[in-house]
Structures are given as C-alpha cells and as structure tokens.
C-alpha cells in the first residue's frame, strides 16, 4: 500500500502532534505539512499542488485566523484532485452540509469519529 501524502490544517499543537502520531500509526499516512491559519494553508497547498505532492487534506473548521471553510474554498478554486475531509468539534447538520457543498468528501467529529477517519484513510490507501 502506498503512503497517502496528507496535509493537516489544525491550529492546536497538542491535537496536531497526537493526530499525526495516531494517523501514521493506524493508517498508511505520511504527513507532509501543516498549517495553522487559512491563509498559510492556501499558500502552502498551492505550492504542494504545483509539485503534485498531496493526496489528502484534513481540515479543521476552527482555526487561529480564518476558517476551514475558506481553505475548502481555495482548494475548490485551485481544482486540485486531492481529497479533502473536515475534522471538527462541531459537526452539526448545517456545518456538514456547508462543508460538503464546498467540496469536502466527508466530515468527521474530532471526538466521536476518530475511528471513522482512520477507516477512511485506509480506504483511500486501498484505491
């Protein structure tokens, strides 16, 4: 199974480090970079896209500046084939719909859907 090159958009260092370790432990995920704000995320992602080096983007909705929705928007604009999923604390119906309409493939709740995220990553790797 090939590694899924994953970019993380998450502003909490604690969550970030734990998530990186967990994902790399539980699935064939290789985290290639991270950003803490929407602007930084868009900037880095554009560079990565040019190099064709990203398969999956995991986006948190609540960021230090800007929101995960902005990141989704700029990913959609860039027309990248990379998959994007949302990992958030507030996975309400409205937020889910909003994210899905902005091009996200799935929305996961940070506390409840960790296993589902891992399963998703594994299924991506299988493709």
């Amino acid at each position: 199974m090939s590694q899924i090159r994953t970019f993380l958009v998450e502003d909490s260092p604690v969550i970030r480090s734990n998530l990186v370790a967990a994902l790399e432990d539980l699935a064939p995920v290789q985290v290639v970079g991270y950003a803490e704000s929407a602007d930084d995320a868009c900037h880095q992602l554009r560079e990565l896209q040019d190099g064709g080096e990203c398969d999956l983007v995991i986006v948190d909705v609540f960021l230090k500046s800007g929101s995960g929705l902005d990141v989704l928007r700029c990913l959609r604009e860039s027309g990248t084939p990379a998959r994007r999923v949302v990992l958030t604390n507030y996975a309400t119906t409205e937020i889910r719909n909003e994210c899905l309409s902005l091009g996200a493939q799935a929305v996961f709740d940070k506390s409840r859907d960790i296993d589902a995220l891992v399963d998703y990553c594994n299924s991506v790797a299988g493709d």
């Binding site: 909490s12 604690v14 734990n18 967990a22 432990d25 539980l26 909705v61 929101s67 506390s111």
Partner: protein, 451 residues
C-alpha cells in the same frame, strides 16, 4: 445683624400687637377729638355766660341812668314828655332784674356782686319812685330833701363801681378764654397729627415687614429649587454611574467567560482528543485480544466521550466560540439541539440567518440561554419553540413554552435577577423585552432588537 434684630422685633410687634395697636390708635383719635370738642363747648358756654353777665349788669345800670336822667328832666321842666323814657325803662325794669337774678344764680364768681347790684338797683328804684311821687303831689321840697339824703346818689355810684368791676373782670375772662380756646385747638391738631403720623409709621413698617417676609419666602423657595435641582443632578449622575458600573460588570463577566471557554477549548479539548487518539492506537494493538483489556478500553473510551461532552457543554454555556466562528444561527441551533438532548424536551428551532454585530448576537445568545434554563428549571413543559427572524429593521427572538407559566406581576417568581439581567442587556443594545405569561398558560419571551 441690625437688620435681623430689627426685623425680628418688628415681626414680633406685628404678629401679636398690630390688631390691638390699630384699635388703640383709633380710640386715641376719638378720645382726642371728643375731649377737644367738649373743651371747646365748655369754653364757648363760659364765654356766652360772661357776655350775658356783662349785658345784664350793664343793662341794669343803663336803665337806671336813663330813668334818673328822665326824672331830672321832668323835675326841671315839669313837662310829662320828659318822663317818657322813665316810663319806658320802668316797664322793662322787672325783666332786667329777673335777668340779673338769673345771672347771679348761676355765676359763682360774680354772684355776690350781682345780688348787691340788684339790691342797690331796687333801692334806687324805690328812691326814684318816692321822689317822683312827692313831686307829683306838689311836695317839691320833700322831693329835694329825699334827693339830698344822697341815698340815690350813693346807691348809683356803688352800682357803677360794682358794675365796672364785674364788666372788667368778665372782659378779662373773655380775653383769657380765647387763649384757652387756641390752646385746645392747637393741642387737638398736634394730637391728631401725632396719631396720624403714628398710624402712617405703623402702616409703613408693616409694609416693609411684608416686603421683607416676601423676600425671605422667595429666598427660601429659591434655595428649595436649587436644592432640588442639585439633588436631581446628583440622582442623574448616580444613575449614570450605576448603569456604567453594571455595563462594566457585564463586560468583565463576559471577558472572564471567554477566557475560561478558550482555555477549556484549547487546553482541555486538545488533551481529551489526544487521549482519544491514544485509545484508538491501543485498541488497534489489542484487537486480537479478548476479554478484560477490550472491556477496559471500551470503558475508557466512554469516559473520555463523557468528558468531551461535558467540556463542550461547559464551553457552550460559558462562551460559544461558535458565535464568532459559525455565526448566530449555527450557534443557536447547536444550543437548541444540546438543550433538547439534556432536558429531553422537543425543541422546535426556527432560526433565520441574520447578521448582527457581536455584542447583540451575544445578547441574544444569553437571552435564549437564560430562557431555556428557566424552562428547564421551572416550567414543567412538554414543548419548546425558539425562533429568530428579521422584521423590517429589527430582529425578533421568541422563546415559547407550554409549561406552568407564572404571574408576571410578582417579581420573585419570574426568576428575578436572571430576567432583569436579560432586560438590561437587550435594552442597552437599543431593544426591548416583553414577557407574557399566566399561571397555567405557558410562557412567551419576546425580544426585539434593531439590526
């Protein structure tokens, strides 16, 4: 100081004595005029009496003189026409005597003299009658003899002396009494002038007193108004200070809540999520084991979930970061959903997407929070409706339940300060809160804010 003392004196005088004083002055005026009048009358009467005395005495003497002269003329000429005056005078003689007697009776000073004159006049008269009688009989010598006795002549000269005395004295009295009359007139004039001046003085000082009392009253009123204005100002100032303090306290509270929420979210949230990730990793490693390890992991996972749920609820109650991140609509929906779950009540949420400045969004969030808390605590309801919608230039929030309701006129039963806090926040955003409720009829809380 002088002013105060004199004003106190005059107010003392006027308050108790002005009435009796006015009456006394009027009575004095009467007394003065009455006594002057009486005195003038007496003087007048005395003067008339004096004149009467003079006339009586003088009249008597003149009559006797005429009679004597007529008698002598007759005796010289022997002609009856020379006796005419004697007859005429004799006719009036009795009247003159009576007149003189009246004068003697009433005049104590001259009475003795006048009586003497009367006596002498009678003597003289009878002497003249006798002389004439003798002459008419033809006894000329007898007549001359009687004349030469000087009875008549001496009587006449004494009469003259006495009459002169009386008249002189009466004239002196008459002159003297005119001085007395002048004195009375002057006295009366002075007396009345004095009393009038006193009255005028009293009236003037009363007027001055009234003016100064009026001034005092105006001054008192002015001070009263100034005091009232000052108190008004102070009340306004204090009220403004209190309102400002309340706002400040509210701000401090919100800041505190925001800080707590942030810490919970950032720190605690991260730790719990990390724990959950570790659980996932451990589970993968023990997935081939059976029994206790799986059970324990499952239990640990549940505890973590419960912890995360609790953390979320506390953060929501404190300060929903979703307000700034997701907007009012999403936040209210989350709030309603979590309330429905906690209280096991169906919540019908109809939330429009209205854009509001953060302070007002927070005020609405707190309003709904307080209202839902009250529903859970007191209402005993089976249905709750929460709606947010835009109406012209305002936004309307409604929280309605079909519960027990309460009497809105009783302050304590409406949750007291919680609702008052609501009122204050909404009002300080320029809006208004209206609470409709009645025992047994549910409760509707409606707030309207400008957008």
């Amino acid at each position: 100081m002088n002013d105060a003392r004199s004003s106190r004196w005059s107010s003392w005088v006027s308050s108790r004595y002005v009435g009796p004083l006015a009456v006394a002055l009027s009575v004095m005026v009467l007394v003065v005029t009455e006594s002057s009048f009486r005195q003038m009358q007496n003087i007048s009467t005395d003067r008339e009496a004096s004149v009467e005395t003079q006339l009586a005495v003088g009249g008597l003497r003149r009559a006797l003189l005429f009679m004597e002269s007529a008698k002598r003329g007759y005796m010289l000429t022997g002609r009856k026409d020379y006796l005419e005056p004697y007859v005429q005078q004799e006719a009036a003689f009795q009247t003159l005597l009576q007149r003189a007697e009246r004068v003697a009776a009433r005049d104590p000073d001259q009475g003795a003299r006048v009586l003497r004159i009367i006596e002498l006049a009678k003597t003289k008269h009878s002497e003249m009658q006798e002389v004439l009688a003798r002459f008419d009989r033809g006894d000329r010598d007898g007549a001359i003899d009687l004349t030469l006795t000087d009875l008549g002549r001496e009587a006449m000269s004494e009469i003259s002396l006495l009459a002169d005395d009386v008249i002189r004295e009466e004239i002196a009295f008459y002159d003297h009494s005119s001085f007395a009359r002048d004195r009375v007139v002057v006295g009366a004039r002075i007396g009345i002038w004095l009393l009038v001046l006193l009255c005028v003085g009293g009236a003037l000082s009363l007027m001055r007193l009234a003016r100064s009392q009026e001034r005092e009253r105006e001054e008192y009123l002015r001070q009263l108004h100034a005091e009232r204005d000052r108190l008004d100002e102070e009340v306004t100032q204090r009220t403004a200070e209190t309102v400002e303090l309340a706002r400040h306290m509210e701000r401090v509270r919100e800041d505190e809540r925001a800080r707590l929420a942030r810490e919970l979210h950032d720190e605690l949230g991260g730790l719990l999520t990390a724990a959950k990730l570790d659980v996932a990793r451990i589970r993968k490693r023990i997935q081939d084991d059976t029994g206790t390890k799986q059970q324990l992991m499952a239990h640990l996972s549940e505890s973590l979930d419960a912890g995360i749920k609790l953390k979320r609820r506390i953060i929501e109650d404190l300060r929903p970061s979703s307000l700034s991140n997701l907007g009012l609509r999403a936040t209210l929906q989350i709030q309603c959903a979590e309330f429905a779950e906690r209280s096991e009540l169906p919540v019908d949420a109809q939330i429009e997407d209205v854009v509001l400045p953060p302070e007002r969004a927070l005020a609405i969030y707190r309003l709904v929070q307080e209202a839902l808390t009250n529903v859970a605590k007191y209402a005993d309801a089976t249905r709750v409706r929460v709606s947010l919608r835009r109406v012209a230039q305002d936004v309307e929030v409604v929280v309605e339940d079909n519960g027990r309701g309460f009497d809105t006129t009783l302050r304590s039963s409406s949750g007291g300060h919680g609702l008052q806090g609501m009122h204050f926040r909404i009002r300080s955003c320029g809006g208004d809160v209206n609470i409709r409720s009645a025992p047994g009829a549910g409760t509707t809380i409606r707030a309207v804010l400008p957008v």
